[in-house]
Structure formats: C-alpha cells, structure tokens
C-alpha cells in the first residue's frame, strides 16, 4: 500500500478516518472489493511512476506510519479504514488522475460483480464511461491503457486533465478552498465512498474566473453591489460546483406543462418514478435521479430533499451508458402556479445542462423563447432541445415542425450543434412510444462521458455575466487624455494666472525703460512735462503689494471641467464619474496654489534689470548732446564775435549732434527689441510652467491615475471575456 502524499495531509487523514469509520457499516460490502483492486492499482501507479513523483519514498513512509497508527486504534477494521483515507490525500497530488482512474476501474469491476484484476476491467465493455474529459474518442483504448498508471507520465500533465497544474497552483486561496473541499465532501457526502473527485476547470476557464474575481474586487469601490451581484453569483456557483464531483453531470429536464417532461424522465430512467398525468400542472417539485453514487452533494446543492431522490431501474447496459448522469425532473415554467416557475429558475441556475422538452403544440410559445431560450442562448452547448410527442404528428409533419423549431431557435440566437459544430442538440422523439429515446440516450451518454458540461456551463455563465457587465466596463470608444487636451489645460491655467498679459507687460516695460534710458535728454524733458500734466491714474505705484485672488477662479474651474470632461469621454458611466470626482477633488485648492505661485514666479516688483550697454548708450547720447552744445556755443561765439568766424565746423558739429541723438535712440530701440522680447517671454514662460506644473500635480496626475485604474480594470475585463486570454 503506497501512495504519494505530503506531510501536511496526515492530519487531515487522521481527522477523516473517524468519518469514514462511522460510515463503514453501510458500505462494507462495496468497499471490500474495491479496496482490493484499489491496492493493486495504487501499487501499479506508484511503481511505474516513482521516477516522476515528488518524493515517493517520503510519501510511502508517511502513509505507512498513518496506517500503523490507525491500525493500532481500530483493531479489526484497521485494514479497511487505512485504505480508504489513503486515497483521500492523494487528491491534491499530481497523481490524482491515475488514482482516480484506478478507483473507477475498481468500481466498475465491482459493479460487474467481478473482482478481476484491473486489466480485465480496463478492457471491459465500460471503457467509454471512464474516458477523461478532453481525451479524443479515437484514443479510447489508449486512454484506457493510459490508466495503466501513467506508463507515459507526459500524457497526464499534457492532457486537459492537468491536475498537476492545480497542485502546483495551490496557494493561499486555493489551499483553503481545498480544505473546504475535503470537509464538504466528507461531511455532506453521507458516506459516499465513490471516488467523487472534485471538478476541475481547464486553464483558460480558471484564468477567466480568476480575472472575474479580480475584476469584482477592483470594481467594488466604483460600482454598486447590485451591478456586481450577478458576477459574484457566478463566482460563488463556480466555486461551489468545483468543490463537488466532476464525475457527475447534472442534467435538468425543463419544459412547459403537459409537454411530457416526466414522461421523458421516466423513459430515460426506465421506471415510473415521476408521476405523470393529465392533471395540469403535474409535477410540482423537482425530482432527482442519479445513475451512480456520489452525487448526493450535488443534489443537496439543488435543494432536493431525500424523499425525492430516485434510482433508475437496475440494468447494466443503461447504467453503463449513462454513468455519472444525475437527471432532474423540473416542474413546468408556464403554468399559473408561480412557485413552479421560481423553482425552475432556481434549479436552472445550478445544473450543468438542460434538456428542454417542447411539444408540437407549444414549441412556439413566447414564454419559452423570450424568457428562457433567448437569455440562455449563450449556453447552447449545454442545451438539448427535444421535440416530444411526435407520435401525435402525421408523417412528414414531424420534419416540418422540427425545421420550424430549428428556425425559431436560430432566431433566438441559440447555436445549433449541427455538422459537428458546438451548439444545442435538437432531437425529435416520443416518450410515449419510445421513438428516439435511444438516440437521446446515446447523445446524453456521450455528453455525460465527456464530463465537460459543468465547465462549459460555468464558462457560459462567465460569458453571460461579462456581457451583462459590458456597459460598465467597455464602451468601444477610445479613452485616455490626449496630449492636446493636456496642453490645452496648461494653456487655460496660464490664462487664469495671466501669463500672456504678464509677459507682454514685462516686454513693454523693458522697452519703455530702454527708450527712457537711451532717449535724447530733450525728449525726456518733454515726457516729464507731459506726465506732470496727465492725471496720475494707474501709473502711480500705489497698488497693493500683492493681490489676493489674482487667479481667475472661473477660468480654473472651467479648465478643470473641460479636462475632466475630455478625460472621461468614452468611459463607462461609473468610471467617468470617478475621473470627474478625482479632477474636482484635485482642483479644490488649485486657485489658491496658483495665487501663491503667481506671486512667487512673477516678476520681482520694481524696475527691470538694466543691461550693460545702456551706460554706453547713455554716454553716446551725452556725447551727442555735448556736440550740439559745443556746436551751438561755437556758433554763438562767432555771432557774438568772440571767436573767429568759421561756419563749417560748428555747423557740422551741431548737425552731427542733432541727427546723432535720435539716431542713437533709434538704434538703441532696435537693439532693445530682442532682449525685451526675451525678457517678456521669460516672464511668461516662468508663470506658464509654474501653472502647468501645479495643474499637473493637482489635477492631471490624479486623473491619469484614475484612467490607469480603469485601463487595468478594462484589461481584466478583456481577460474575463476571454479575448485577452490564450486562444481556446
């Protein structure tokens, strides 16, 4: 007796032993045969795969120890009780599939009443029922021998049944889940000793579920709980279903009253277990029928009490074909009894697959199509639509009706599984005469054997939830804050602090000072006089040293509003609201900050700086004036007669002075233009940059962070819809 196990499972084993022991009385008979086989299989599996096991020796020792301990406690039943838990810890390990496989073999042979070696069971007639999900139909024998305890260890991990991945992925969250799994199964299993391995989802679905969980977590602060309720429900159901048996497929039979649901149920079960009759509505509570053991937890989940659980008639053939099937007969959905509809809605949300029973009279009822088929169109892969009561139709009419039904389904958006495409299966049958029941049984058998229904149902649920959440996550428009919008925001803030005006004023002040400094003295004299005559308004320096509220509040408000509007354009409503709120929050102290900033970054009060060439210009201007004066005096001297008459030189001097003065002034003004502009631009730039920086820090950055959060959520949503995930 060996098994691969881990240290930490020992406690679990020990704990579980008690449960198992309590249940032994009921299952002794089945157990003994199975355990014999089990031992063989386990041995096989471990032997042949010891090279790939993590630490087979350690596991072996551990197991032996456990066995010893239990043996000491339980005395006579030691062997049995040790063996049963021996299987349990294995579930977490990489060896699970093989273990699983082996167990199934054991059970099969047990059911046959043949306690033959495993090889005999493997080649038995029940091979299809043991096929693992995802394995090709063609490789059935291969899969069977693959149960030869991993003769090729690669096939195990490569196949869709990649439990090894799960084992490796056991992290904080799933470890807890795993523990819960054990408890649920042991506690609620009612002593079912069937190897009800929990369901596993394939990698894309798992990543989509993870993404959905993440998405719900990320959006909780932004969206109201009602919007997220559906997604939360899907997650809960996915987790709940995952804990339960993956070997069973729960199929509900739904339909209108009088369509023959119970009749079909009985025909499939081969025994009259659901009441049929002409009294409408007939069935008032769901009835379950399980083709194999270990499904009790699944049925518990549907809330079907024990008195409504049935077994099909004991027939080897039928049982083998439909092994793993749990059939639920539902009440009608269209009668005047409203509580029936409620029950149907509740159970339909929990089952793995649905058989819709319609009849020639009711197949076009609005309630069926509008209330059920259209909303569930995404679940086409797990739907069977069965046209019952074809015996009531004359000859070719059945085909016509079937075609019309197909057309209606097509209009509902239900993909039909014709020509090998995935989709709903449409069949015509008569539960009364048994016509077509065989076909349904075959299709159903294949469907159940694939064991993919639960995962496909969850996938379709995720699709539906994602689709319903679409308006709050995706709009199909471009989002984000464009560069122009940012620039425009900066411009608006610059306007609000008056950067342009400040720059122009600084430039003009510089020019004015230059002109004053380099002007001819006569001009300055004239100007001075002019100033004295004019009223002193606005020119006198009696201004307040610092203006309070120098920033235009309304412009800041408008700029923030515009930028948040642009940033939130194309965003779904809740996220747009969040962006707007972030912007408004950031803009709270913005005008005050800009006030301070403008005071700091603005020009220092007083006169602009004087460049080095001004004294030279002043000197030149003085020279020119001197020339005028000298020339004038010289001329005056000649006129008075003090000096020798010589017109040429003094006139020349005077003319030079008179022309040269304005010339110097003019050239100074030309020369001043460049530096003045630079000075003005510098002043403007300083204000502008300060305002833009302030705006960025207070408004644009929070907005960008909010946009980033949205983008993250959007990506997560893409992952949920499966677009971003690996191609399935």
């Amino acid at each position: 007796m060996t098994a691969v196990t881990d240290q930490d499972h020992t406690d679990n084993d020990h704990m579980n032993n008690d449960h198992m022991n309590n249940d032994h009385a009921d299952h002794d008979q089945t157990d003994s045969g199975r355990i014999d086989n089990d031992r063989k299989n386990s041995k096989d599996s471990t032997d042949s795969s010891s090279g790939t096991g993590e630490n087979p020796e350690a596991g072996e020792q551990e197991q032996t120890r456990a066995q010893d301990r239990v043996g000491a406690e339980d005395g006579g039943t030691a062997e049995k009780s040790a063996k049963v838990p021996a299987r349990l810890p294995v579930r977490n390990s990489a060896k699970e599939p093989r273990e699983q496989e082996a167990a199934v073999h054991a059970r099969v042979s047990d059911a046959d009443g043949v306690t033959a070696p495993r090889t005999a069971a493997g080649t038995g007639p029940h091979a299809p029922s043991r096929r693992e999900p995802g394995s090709e139909p063609g490789t059935e024998p291969g899969a069977d021998t693959g149960a030869d305890a991993g003769a090729e260890p690669g096939t195990d991990s490569d196949g869709a049944w990649d439990d090894g991945l799960i084992a490796r992925r056991v992290s904080e969250a799933s470890a807890a889940e795993q523990a819960a799994v054990m408890e649920t199964r042991i506690g609620g299993g009612g002593g079912s000793t069937l190897p009800s391995t929990p369901l596993t989802y394939d990698a894309p679905l798992r990543s989509r579920l993870d993404a959905l969980r993440e998405l719900v977590g990320l959006s909780r602060a932004r969206l109201d709980s009602r919007t997220l309720a559906e997604a939360g429900r899907v997650l809960d159901e996915a987790a709940a279903r995952r804990r339960l048996s993956g070997q069973h497929t729960v199929v509900a039979i739904a339909g209108a009253t009088g369509s023959g649901k119970s009749q079909l149920f009985n025909a499939l079960a081969g025994v009259n277990i659901s009441e049929t009759g002409v009294r409408r509505p007939t069935t008032s509570a769901p009835i379950a029928c399980s083709w194999s053991d270990g499904a009790s937890t699944l049925i518990d989940r549907l809330g079907i009490p024990g008195r409504l659980r049935r077994r099909p008639v004991q027939s080897q053939d039928a049982e083998a074909q439909l092994r793993g099937l749990v059939l639920i007969d539902l009440p009608d959905h269209d009668s005047a009894a409203v509580q029936h509809r409620e029950q149907v809605d509740r159970v339909l949300a929990l089952v793995d697959a649905v058989i819709w029973v319609v009849d020639p009279e009711k197949y076009a009822d609005a309630i069926l199509h509008e209330r059920y088929l259209r909303p569930m169109a995404g679940h086409a892969e797990i739907m069977f639509i069965v046209l019952n009561q074809v015996d009531r139709l004359p000859g070719e009419a059945a085909e016509l009706v079937l075609d019309d039904l197909r057309r209606l389904l097509d209009e509902d958006g239900v993909a039909l599984g014709e020509y090998g495409e995935p989709g709903a299966t449409v069949l015509a049958l008569s539960a009364l005469t048994g016509d077509g029941i065989g076909e349904l049984r075959e299709v159903l058998g294949q469907f159940v054997t694939e064991r993919g229904a639960a995962a496909r149902r969850i996938a379709a649920d995720v699709d539906a939830a994602a689709w319903r959440l679409r308006p709050v996550y995706a709009t199909g428009r471009r989002t984000g804050l464009s560069e122009e919008a940012r620039d425009e925001f900066a411009d608006c803030l610059a306007d609000a602090v008056g950067a342009t005006a400040a720059g122009e004023a600084a430039e003009r002040a510089w020019l004015r000072n230059a002109g004053r400094a380099c002007g001819t003295p006569w001009l300055r004299l004239w100007r001075w006089q002019q100033d004295r005559r004019d009223p002193p308004t606005g020119r006198l320096p009696l201004r307040a040293p610092a203006d309070e509220e120098a920033t235009a509040r309304q412009r800041v408000e408008q700029a923030v509003r515009t930028v948040s509007e642009r940033a939130s354009a194309g965003l779904p409503m809740p996220w747009a609201q969040a962006v707007r709120e972030a912007a408004v929050r950031g803009a709270g102290g913005l005008p005050e900050a800009l006030d301070q900033l403008a005071a700091r970054a603005g020009l220092p009060p007083g006169r602009p700086p004087r460049p080095g060439w001004w004294p030279v210009a002043v000197l030149a201007q003085a020279c020119m004036t001197l020339l005028q004066v000298v020339g004038g005096l010289w001329l005056l001297g000649q006129i008075v007669g003090v000096l020798a008459p010589n017109l040429g030189v003094p006139v020349l001097l005077m003319v030079t002075g008179i022309i040269g003065g304005p010339l110097v002034e003019w050239s100074c003004r030309l020369a001043a233009r460049g530096p003045a502009r630079r000075y003005g631009q510098d002043a403007e730039r300083r204000l502008r940059e300060a305002a833009a920086g302030c705006g960025r820090a207070r408004v644009l950055d929070p907005v960008a962070a909010e946009l980033l959060r949205y983008r993250e959520v959007r990506e997560q949503y893409g992952r949920v819809t499966g677009v971003g995930a690996a191609a399935r």
Partner: protein, 535 residues
C-alpha cells in the same frame, strides 16, 4: 336583466371621453408609463372597435372572436363551425397571422366598411393565394383583416379567428388583444395540455374584469381523459370565479388533428347551437350584447382614473425636472452675481492688463481682456448649471427620455452664444462712453476708449479697481462718472440676465417640447364623470 338603452347624450359623452383618451400622452419613461401607454391604446381600441359602434348600431351582427394560445386549434374550430375551410390551419406555429372574419353574405356590408376595427385594412383576396403574401402587416405597417363570407353561418353572426395571444411575434399579441376586445362574445380556446398555462388565465381574468360574455372551449382532449380533464378545468374555473361560464369540450379526433380537415359537425354542435341560439333568440341576444357593453362601460370606472393617475405622475415628473433646472440656474445666477460683486472678472489676464494700464497696455487691450474674462465667467456659470442639472436628472428616471438625452448643445456653441452676448455688451458700453465724452468740452475730452475701459474695470473689478473709479472721475467729472457707471451697470445686469435666461430656456426646450401638462388628468376624470351621469 340588463338592457341596452342608448341615449344620444351618452354617445356624446362617450365620444368626448374617447377624444380625451386619444389626446393623453405619456412621453416620459416613468415606471408606469409603458403600462399606461398600453392601457390607453387598449382602451382606445376597445372604444373605437367595439363600444361606440355597438352602442350606435345595436342591430349589427354579433361578433364572436375566437382567441387562445398558439396551437390550441382556433382555426380548426372556426373552420368546423363554418363548415368549410376559411382559415388556414397547420402544424407550424404560429399559424394564423392574418385575422380572418367570417360572416353571412348578407352581413357583409356591416364589416366591409370601417364601422368596426377601423385600424385594419380589409382584403377580400381568396385565401388560397393570399396566404403567403399576407403573413406580414401591410407595407405601411397596418394590419390587414381578411373577410370571408359563408352562407352556412346564420345571419347576424360573425366569427373572427384571431392570432394567438402568446405569439412569439409581438405584433400578433397586440393585435390579438385588440381583436378580442372588439368582441361581443369572447370564445377562449384552450387544450388539454394547456389549460393550466398562465397566459390564457390572464386573459380569462381580464374577461371577468370586463364582465364580457365569455365562452370557453377545451379543445383537443384525448377521449380517454375527457372526463378527468374537463373536471379539472371546471374546478380551476370555479376557483377563479368563472364557474358559470359556458364550457364546451371538443375531443381530439384523428382526422382533425394537425392541420387536417374539419372536425365533424357533431363535435362542435353544442358550441354552434349555443352561438346560434344567442344570435337568433332576441332575449338572449339582447342580454349578451348588453352584458358585454355594460361590462366595458363599467370597466371605465377603474381604467380612466388609472390613466389619469399616470398622466398626473407624468406631470409631476416633468415638474421635478423643470424645478431641477430652475434651481440649478438660480443657484448659478446668485453665484455669478456674487462673483461680479467681488470683482472676480478682474483677475488673471485682465488683472495683469489693468496693472500695466496705461503705461504698458492700451485701453483696447484692457477692454479685450475684461470682455474675455466676463465671457469665461458666464460660460463657467452655464456649464456648472448644466452639470448640476445633469446630476439632478441622473436620479430621475423620467430624464431618460430620448428627447431629453440627445442634446445637441455642445459647449462650443454655448461659448459662441456667450461670446456674442459679451461682445455686444462691450460695443454698447463703448457707445455709452462716447456719448458721455461728447458732452465734454473739446479741449479736455479724454479718449472714449480709455473711458470705456475704466468704466468696465470699475464695474467688474469690485474693490480692487477703486482707482479705476477715481481715474474715471478725474477724466469726465464725478457726476458724469457716476451716471456712466449706473448706466453701464444696468446694461451689465441686463445682459447677464439675458444670457442665463436664454441658456435656461434652451435647456428646458426639449422638456417643453414633450408637452406634459396638468390638464389631461382633470379632463380624463371630467369626461368620466360626465359619462357616469349620462348612464
């Protein structure tokens, strides 16, 4: 014994009531609006199709409408009652898409005109060829009604084969309800498989509510279970308070099932006899007519207040929307006034210009900056008000009306309108300044533009522009300055009011366009009470 005596006053009151009902509109998408709209259409149809024509002409043939779920065998039943194939029957659902009316050739003139069912276009094409073309409503979206004549029917009786009441084709459902409401005698067909379905029961309850002359037919009952199903059905009817309704059972017969021929006359004989008796016996006939008509008249007592209530809630919702707009704009108006007082316009660019005036800045530039700043203030106020309105409307379901949600008013066009208004204000201000300056002597007259700039600054700058007022007084004298300021201030207020008022009206225009008034409620109730008095 109810009898039907019709006075002209009653007819007048009824047609007045009909007009009121036709005028009622429920444009706002409130919770009860779709229901109210449906009720209104149904009531209108019943008045037009049934009540008014019936009261006007009590001698017209009785109209018997056969209604029921899809696949209940309505067409087969009608064919069997007539004795020949007049309505298409088949296995594909829904079968009957064009309603068929069958009557005696002598009665043809009653139905060929628009006396009853005026909304349906009549066609007389033989059904064999027309079956395919008339599946859909006519090109103009109108439904068609096929009229057949058969002399096997007694004069004074008309049978109408309606589409299914729970059809996948939504149009058919509406049409079926409309047709059933037009009947003197309602024949509800159900089957052994269907008699517990929810939808037909709704219809039965409606029939009870209107106290219409009702007959139920339990069709297609396999003969093994006839008695049991019939008993069950009877029990259900009794439980629903419809125990006294005549009940006929038609067995499922091999030759009739699934689009075959006609049921043998014996199978439908009881129903046929019942119908013929009610048509030909004057007492029964009068009783049947009076019962259905009085039932509809009685039902008005409940239905009209319901419509009036819906109209009232429409008006209340419209009032809430309007008051949200008014509150938002009033708040913003107060805010703008406050900001103008505190001199918020003289900030940013305008403030910098003012500090540089007049040395480094011309009067024109200062005026430009002030105008622009004022425009920004107004635009800010308007968009803020719009935002408030949007916020308030988001909580109102009524604001989801398509007319209210697709506003074309982009901020750019608002900006444009405000820019126009502000520039106009500036031009008028400059004219005022010129007027004022013209009055002064030529020698000391200052530049009118700088006067305008100073006035604008003094008006818009609040406390911080005190020196502008002083400068103004220096230039044009204290008296003139005061006068100019007053005039300019009034001008400013006027423009401000006008801008905000225009924007508010633009915002309210789509809501006003929906024309939700308080009158319909009162009018509906008034029409009802007039009718009650005339009865």
């Amino acid at each position: 014994m109810v009898t039907l005596d019709v006075r002209p006053q009653l007819l007048d009151a009824l047609s007045a009531l009909r007009d009121r009902v036709a005028a009622a509109r429920f444009p706002l998408p409130l919770a009860g609006a779709p229901r109210a709209r449906a009720n209104r259409d149904e009531l209108l149809a019943q008045l037009d199709d049934y009540l008014v024509p019936r009261l006007k002409q009590p001698d017209a043939p009785m109209l018997v409408v056969v209604g029921g779920s899809t696949g209940a065998g309505k067409s087969t039943l009608v064919n069997s009652l007539v004795g020949q194939r007049v309505s298409e029957a088949g296995v594909l659902r829904p079968t009957t898409r064009t309603p068929v009316l069958v009557c005696h050739p002598e009665d043809h003139h009653w139905f060929s005109g628009m006396r009853v069912l005026p909304r349906l276009t009549r066609v007389w094409a033989p059904h064999q060829e027309s079956a395919d073309d008339l599946l859909l409503p006519g090109e103009d979206g109108r439904h068609v009604l096929r009229i057949e004549t058969a002399d096997t029917l007694p004069p004074g009786l008309a049978l109408l084969d309606a589409p299914d009441i729970d059809s996948l084709v939504a149009d058919n459902r509406v049409l079926a309800a409309e047709l059933i409401c037009a009947a003197d005698i309602w024949v509800m067909v159900t089957t052994a498989a269907r008699y517990a379905d929810a939808v037909p029961w709704h219809l039965l309850r409606t029939a009870k509510e209107y106290d219409a002359m009702l007959v139920t037919v339990l069709d297609r009952v396999p003969h093994q279970v006839v008695s049991e199903v019939s008993r069950q059905y009877g029990a259900l009817l009794t439980k629903a308070g419809l125990g006294d309704v005549p009940r006929f059972t038609v067995p499922e017969l091999p030759e009739s099932a699934w689009g075959g021929g006609l049921l043998p006359a014996t199978a439908v004989a009881p129903l046929r006899n019942w119908l013929v008796h009610h048509v030909q016996d004057p007492g029964s006939r009068r009783h049947a007519l009076a019962r259905t008509a009085q039932g509809v008249l009685d039902s008005l007592k409940a239905r009209m207040p319901e419509l009036a209530g819906a109209a009232a809630s429409q008006h209340a919702a419209a009032l809430r929307l309007t008051s949200a707009v008014d509150t938002a704009y009033d708040t913003e108006y107060t805010r703008v006034r406050g900001r103008l007082q505190s001199g918020a316009v003289l900030a940013g660019d305008a403030l910098k210009r003012w500090r540089a005036f007049p040395l480094d800045c011309t009067a024109g530039e200062l005026l430009d900056a002030l105008t622009e700043s004022l425009g920004a203030l107004l635009l800010c106020a308007v968009t803020a008000a719009d935002e408030r309105v949007d916020d308030a409307w988001r909580r109102e379901p009524a604001a989801d009306a398509p007319e209210l949600t697709d506003r074309d008013a982009s901020p750019e066009s608002t900006e444009h309108r405000i820019g126009l208004a502000v520039r106009r204000w500036r031009r008028e201000l400059e004219e005022y300044a010129e007027d004022e300056v013209r009055g002064l002597e030529r020698g000391v007259a200052p530049d009118p533009e700088s006067v305008a700039a100073l006035v604008a600054t003094a008006l818009l700058g609040g406390r911080r522009a005190r020196s502008a007022g002083e400068g103004l007084a220096e230039r044009i004298g204290a008296h003139g300055a005061l006068r100019l300021r007053d005039r300019a201030g009034r001008l400013l207020t006027e423009h401000l009011d006008r801008v905000l008022q225009t924007e508010r009206e633009r915002r309210l225009a789509p809501l006003d366009g929906l024309e939700v008034h308080p009158e319909p409620q009162a009018e509906l109730i008034a029409a009802l009470s007039v009718l009650q008095k005339e009865r």
